[in-house]
């Protein structure tokens, strides 16, 4: 399966609380191919962030992560010990978090961050330390690539002196310095203003074609997903509701939840008199509905929906967790 960089099979995550075990992600399967951007779309409580954090082992101590397989570039991460995993994180696997400001040490310069990132990959990229200032020159070059022209000056700055947009670019530059094979980006533009968000997305778009990393891109914003992602997985209440190519999902969504999301996003951009709502609320973890988790809110609910639904493969290559569609397997 050399086409896939990352293969996740039957991922299950639960949180151990004092009195109960809360299942947060159940039976998630997905692949990320070499050089592609897989978007994970979902709202809060869908499990999208937890899923991606689990791959990087960044979940708190009370998280219980089980999977049949987490195949990454030749290794099964599910079978790795923490010691074996440690060298991968921050080298071949990198993460870009939501809050650019919080990702930097406020009492250190940007240059300090670049230095330490360079040191982390010194083994794989010895050219960074072949001469005294090599890593600095490379940092300036990478900064230029993300649209920061005055690299030398920026390296001397502290995070609080820079705007949010600039910091996010610098963060992307830091990650690029690592030359990771997989970049996990968790809603990297949510905290940024419209104009800056637009520019960062354009940056990602440009980079995607240049570098050879794959992306796992988490977002709740459809328009962002439309611009960046090759394939999309829509998550609801800890499961994948639908998966397919970005174009297909955003223009012809099949699962009723995806349809609701796409419709709401589209409507707000047009001049409508009244937005159509998806009625109800996300189910409480302690009281999940029987069978299809979206059933209580679904306009198409019918006989059979109260049974467990599995992902069905439709004739046009889409995976949908809904009995409205025929499984061709």
């Amino acid at each position: 399966m050399s086409e896939n960089l990352l293969e996740v099979r039957n991922l299950r995550i639960s949180f151990q609380l004092r009195d109960a075990s809360i299942p947060v992600v159940e039976g998630v399967d997905f692949d990320v191919r070499h050089g592609e951007v897989l978007g994970i779309i979902g709202e809060s409580g869908s499990g999208k962030t937890v899923t991606c954090m689990s791959i990087l082992r960044l979940l708190p101590a009370n998280a219980v992560v089980r999977a049949e397989r987490i195949w990454f570039d030749g290794e099964d991460l599910a079978r790795c010990s923490d010691d074996e995993f440690e060298p991968l994180r921050g080298r071949r696997l990198a993460m870009i978090f939501q809050d650019p400001v919080g990702s930097f040490n406020p009492v250190k310069t940007i240059g300090w961050h670049f230095y330490h990132v360079s040191r982390r990959v010194a083994h794989e990229r010895p050219e960074l330390f072949s001469r005294r200032d090599a890593w600095r020159k490379e940092a300036v070059a990478v900064l230029a690539r993300v649209g920061i022209p005055h690299g030398r000056q920026i390296l001397r700055q502290y995070p609080h002196q820079m705007s949010g947009g600039m910091l996010q670019r610098a963060l992307v530059a830091l990650v690029l310095q690592l030359r990771p094979v997989l970049i996990v980006a968790d809603e990297p533009t949510t905290n940024l203003d419209n104009i800056v968000e637009h520019q960062i997305i354009e940056l990602f778009r440009g980079l995607k074609n240049d570098i050879h990393s794959s992306f796992l891109f988490i977002t709740h914003n459809m328009s962002v997903a439309a611009k960046l992602c090759d394939r999309i997985a829509v998550m609801y209440a800890g499961q994948i509701a639908e998966m397919g190519t970005a174009v297909e999902i955003l223009t012809r969504p099949k699962h009723p939840y995806s349809q609701g999301l796409v419709r709401t996003s589209a409507e707000i951009m047009r001049r409508v008199d009244r937005l159509q709502e998806i009625p109800g609320e996300l189910p409480n973890w302690r009281s999940l509905p029987e069978g299809c988790r979206f059933r209580p809110r679904c306009a198409f609910a019918r006989q059979g929906c109260e049974r467990e639904q599995s992902l069905r493969l439709t004739s046009d290559g889409r995976e949908v967790r809904c009995l409205l569609y025929e499984d061709v397997r």
């Binding site: 820079m162 705007s163 203003d193 419209n194 709401t264 707000i268 001049r271 937005l275 609320e281």
Partner: protein, 347 residues
Amino acid sequence: MTGAPLVDILNLVVRFRTRRGLDAALSRTPTFVTAVDDVSLAIKRGEILGLVGESGSGKTTLGKAILRLVEPSSGEIRFDGENIAHLSERRLRPLRRKVQTIFQDPLSSLNPRHRVSDALATPLRLHRVVESAQVDQKVDSVLERVGLSPVFRDRYPHELSGGQLQRVAIGRALTLNPDFLIADEAVSKLDVSVRAQILNLFKDIQESTGMSMLFITHDLHVARYLCTRIGVMYFGKLVEVGPTEELFRQPLHPYTRALLATIGEDAAQASQPLLAEEAFNPTEDDRIGCRFYKRCPIHQPRCAECHPPFDAAGPGHQVACYEWKDTAKISKHRAARVTADRRVGHP
């Protein structure tokens, strides 16, 4: 929608001191930050005015100033004709009933130690809106109004979802039957599907009560859905204001055009050259001339000298720009990319 405006803001300035006492006296750099920089704006009865801008534009501070949660440094805020900018708390109290607010983060806008029924009953009791015996009844009717079942009465904030919390916050604001509601990024922290529900709720309420609203947001789409007029703020200044559709069809200020271009509005996109980004946070020293000068793709020398006054560009449509007539005529082929180099002039 006729007659005198309900809220009339005249030359409002709000400054915050960053250094005090001896520290300020000895400092050579500015010792204050100007959040609202001489803004004049009127909100008519029964309208929903949108206030749009990025973080740091001063839109939130403007809202807080109207509520007197921050003190205006100078200027007037006329509510129903009366200047409330420097009124004492005692004189202000009866007026507080008429102006209410919804905050951005629904969880922190409710006291974690109070139940939902407490949160809703407090304003009722404070202003003696109904008889003591009828408070419970009123609480139930408010809950119903915002789409929550009575079962939520005894819940605590941490037991509710974001959407439910915001409904409670809206309910709390409604208990006093205010004339004016200020919603500060009221849907920004909500998921897409919940956002639709809350926006519809706002629309319903406004339609049935005829309340005036100031809807502060950074999301132009949301503003377009809800608001009849929109004002655009940048770095403390109001740069353009006009009827919603007019603004979307014919944005005049370069900043407005850039905003609309990023959300994919064709009218602006075709002719809008790309916007340079701020490399460093703008400071008080940058408050000379047009505040947008450094990022503006069509700036002229005179723009650096003095911030442009408002120019009337149509009925109800005003723009603070010297060059707006040119942008209105910009041809589709003008798409020169402005590099960042020209912008960063810091030492």
